[in-house]
């Protein structure tokens, strides 16, 4: 039963990793941008939530009503004002700019919020759990995180394949030059994609901050989990990203079951094994 428990908890943790990864996957899919600052933006969203909560006294989950639009607006501005200048053609300039952004964000958060680790308090829901059978309890919070991940990925999937905005995303991703000839303004298409990515980042940040302590420097390690989930699942496939997150979570859970010190290592090893046998991930969509 201990092992079943480790797998179930791993799957639920995978939901959080899928939330880390979904925004990353979306941005790469639409504009081939590898956002090194993605992890720091997740942590940034957690601090935005912290500020909103201390100003309004809202529950962290309710604070999403404010944090999501704020992060989306930041994403739109970030893409339109900064990243659009370096995107297109060479993949290196945007990589360097987002790396710089990562360093700036970490230090900005340090300056404003100090190095103290923080946590968001969501109340009794954090500790309550659902007893499925003896020896197997599922916490409401991990369950909610997983459900949120599934809903967000389903919504993104719907948006991508059933709406005119998604059509613009796919067309721009397929052939940016021709999309512009059709009248699409790729600067705005990219800005909307980043806005959407950071809306997901906002949810990821809040769930992360309810689950564990956070500090200004934990972004890069969240980025690694996100990357691994995206690559395991296969580039450009959102459901694949969810599968990637779950595989990562389960590998970590099983690793921890063997020895608590093996938790992170087991995740990375699973990633390396999949990379060795399926270099393009399990369900790739993008060549």
């Amino acid at each position: 039963m201990e092992w079943v428990n480790a797998i179930v908890q791993g799957i639920l943790t995978g939901g959080l990793y899928a939330l880390f990864a979904a925004g990353l996957s979306l941005i790469f899919g639409v504009m081939r941008l590898v956002n090194i600052a993605h992890g720091d933006l997740i942590v940034g969203a957690a601090y935005v939530a912290l500020a909103v909560i201390s100003a309004t006294g809202l529950n962290p989950l309710a604070s999403l009503v404010i944090v999501v639009p704020v992060m989306a607006a930041i994403g739109y501005g970030l893409q339109f004002g900064l990243l659009n200048r370096v995107i297109g053609g060479n993949i290196l300039p945007p990589l360097i700019v987002t790396f710089g952004l990562s360093v700036i964000l970490q230090n900005l958060l340090l300056q404003v919020f100090s190095a103290d680790s923080r946590k968001l308090n969501a109340g009794p829901i954090e500790t309550d759990s659902l007893k499925i059978m003896p020896g197997l309890d599922v916490g409401y919070m991990p369950l909610l995180t997983f459900v949120a991940a599934v809903l967000i990925i389903a919504s993104l999937q719907f948006l991508f394949y059933k709406t005119s905005m998604g059509r613009a995303f796919r067309a721009t991703s397929d052939d940016g030059e021709i999309a512009q000839i059709m009248g699409l303004d790729n600067r705005r298409v990219f800005a909307w994609a980043m806005a959407l990515s950071l809306a997901v980042v906002a949810v990821a940040g809040v769930f992360l901050a309810i689950r564990a302590n956070f500090d200004p420097f934990m972004g890069p390690s969240r980025l690694i989990f996100g990357f691994e989930a995206v690559i395991i699942g296969g580039l450009g496939n959102l459901w694949g990203t969810l599968a990637g997150g779950v595989i990562l979570g389960v590998a970590q859970g099983l690793g921890a079951q063997i020895d608590p010190g093996w938790q992170l290592l087991a995740g990375h090893v699973a990633f390396l094994i999949i990379l060795a046998f399926r270099p393009r991930g399990l369900f790739p969509r993008i060549d």
Partner: protein, 180 residues
């Protein structure tokens, strides 16, 4: 490629360096060489995106399907799953959806089987009948001459011969075309 000098004017405006979307809004549409359809979009989505600029005019989705009935049958298929000739129809339909005043057709016959090229050219009068100025860039000289009113041969970036399509013999045109 940024131009070194000169100007491109359309209806009295310079369109040199204008954003591609602006050029389309002004009424110039292009069928690019090699078709370049959006591969993750269906036939219908490709066509709808062609009408993104929403210029008023005769061309609608229904009208495109009327001219190219085969596209209606395949409207929910990925555009790049169609045969070469059908893909060319999608590319033409996509350009027409913006209701252009000038249609640019680049290498219409490239990579298509001769019988398919014949079909596509047979459809051109139906399209041009809508009073649409068309500039066709084509290596299949005989076919290009058969559908055009005027022609121009270019050799190393300069006009080597131009005039009415029926005013010159085949020999004169090939001489200008090959520079002999």
């Amino acid at each position: 490629m940024p131009p070194k000098n000169g100007d491109i004017r359309f209806k009295g405006h310079s369109i040199l360096g204008a954003r591609p979307s602006r050029v389309t809004e002004l009424g110039i549409a292009m069928v690019p060489e090699g078709r370049r359809l959006f591969r993750s979009l269906t036939v219908e989505e490709n066509l709808v995106l062609g009408g993104y600029v929403k210029r008023p005019g005769p061309w609608t989705l229904a009208k495109v399907y009327e001219v190219f009935p085969v596209l209606k049958e395949r409207r929910h298929q990925p555009a790049t799953s169609l045969s070469g000739g059908q893909q060319q129809m999608v590319a033409i339909g996509r350009a027409l959806m913006s209701n252009p005043e000038v249609l640019l057709l680049d290498e219409l016959s490239l990579g298509l089987a001769p019988v398919v090229i014949k079909d596509i050219y047979a459809l051109l009068p139906k399209i041009l009948g809508e009073g649409l100025a068309t500039i066709l860039v084509e290596q299949d000289v005989t076919r290009a001459l058969s559908v055009s009113d005027h022609f121009a041969c270019m050799l190393e970036g300069k006009f080597s011969l131009k005039g009415r399509s029926d005013a010159f013999s085949h020999e004169e045109i090939s001489a200008a075309y090959f520079g002999t």
